[in-house]
Symmetry: C2
Subunit: 198 residues, 2 copies
DNA sequence: CGTCGAATTGATGTCATTCAACTACAGTGG
DNA sequence: CCACTGTAGTTGAATGACATCAATTCGACG
């Protein structure tokens, strides 16, 4: 069982005590995936959220023409999953796979319920997480509603400076909703204006 | 106190009993707004989510050039609010105003907490609402990542057939992330292919 | 009836896409 | 160790989708 990162995450940030955590371990399961492996296929059902201990995952869809649309990246300490599938038993809308070798902890609804029962501060923390997630998604929508390719890219750099170095450019393009060629041109134009991300 | 719609909403769908509801009424406040009135200004703090009893609200932002980006519509039985502002005390990112004369019930976090305490089924219901909201936002992002103006419009019609008749076209355009002129042309082209929404 | 905003239409512009060619580099097998 | 192959990234030219600007029509409302 490899959940140290998750353990310290919910202990430090979620206010869960050691003894509470011990009670919760039976509900946890972790698994390692290698780069490129698919954790959730479109059309399967997703049984749990996934917490990334190590590595980097992504959630994306495929359109009719086979193009990928990356909806979310999940590096260390992030959650990822298909909530429609988890909570409404829909078939998964997203594909989730790993961009780097990864360690993942599966967080079932059962775990969340149990933890919420044991710890008020976890309950509050979880609530904040959800609201934070919603807020984040809304801001992303706002950005997609009319910001230029350049603005989206600058925003991405600001939000995920660490991912810049870990994610191939064509995936960033897909996350931004533009083509790799366009992103390349945006970067060039920024370089010409001698903009330096790092 | 005008909360009949909300009352039947959380009794029928949230499984709250009459006596539980009675205990909760002290936490509720409702208010009427007329068309065009602003309920939340950008930069204010938002103290509560709002449940729409009657009428139609919208949440939007203004960009540097003064253009509106509509992030959400909220007709009867929908919630709207700025979660960043409610839960993290940020200044509101959105402006919320009313498109039609409206009756609104203010749902404070206190109310949610109290109701969750009183009723397990409300707690579950609320959880589902949140996850449903997240799923919905993710699908919207997926759509904005690369779907054509026409596809977005068709998707809008499918999701909100009722809103088609109530929301002026330029607001729909703003929700879709295109200009009113473009939407007009999309509609024309659909009409030429003799597409009929109703 | 006149006014004002919404919607349509046309002419033109701009930004991003598409398609194709080319470079760079990493991984594979001889 | 080097050729072969495949993928990422860049660049160019042509196209296309949507935006912009301007003019006109339509319709609601005073």
């Amino acid at each position: 069982m490899e959940c140290e990162t998750f353990q310290s995450y919910i202990m430090n940030r979620g206010g869960v005590t050691q003894s509470q955590f011990n009670e919760l371990t039976p509900f946890l399961r972790s698994e390692a995936f290698s780069k490129g492996e698919v954790l959730l296929q479109q059309g399967e059902t997703c049984k749990a959220s996934m917490f990334v201990e190590k590595g980097l995952l992504r959630a994306y869809t495929l359109d009719e023409s086979g193009k990928e649309h990356i909806v979310q990246f999940a590096p260390e300490n992030w959650f990822i999953g298909d909530r429609g599938s988890i909570y409404f038993n829909d078939l998964s809308y997203f594909i989730i796979d790993s961009i780097e070798d990864a360690e993942v902890v599966f967080i079932t609804d059962e775990f969340i319920e149990k933890a919420s029962e044991l710890s008020t501060s976890f309950r509050k923390f979880n609530k904040k997480l959800l609201h934070n997630h919603i807020q984040h998604l809304q801001k992303r929508i706002d950005l997609l509603l009319g910001a230029s390719a350049e603005k989206r890219y600058l925003n991405f750099i600001e939000l995920y400076p660490d991912l810049l170095l870990r994610v191939p450019q064509w995936m960033i393009a897909s996350y931004l909703g533009i083509t790799p060629e366009s992103l390349s041109r945006v970067r060039k134009s920024l370089a010409d204006k001698n903009f330096k991300p790092y």
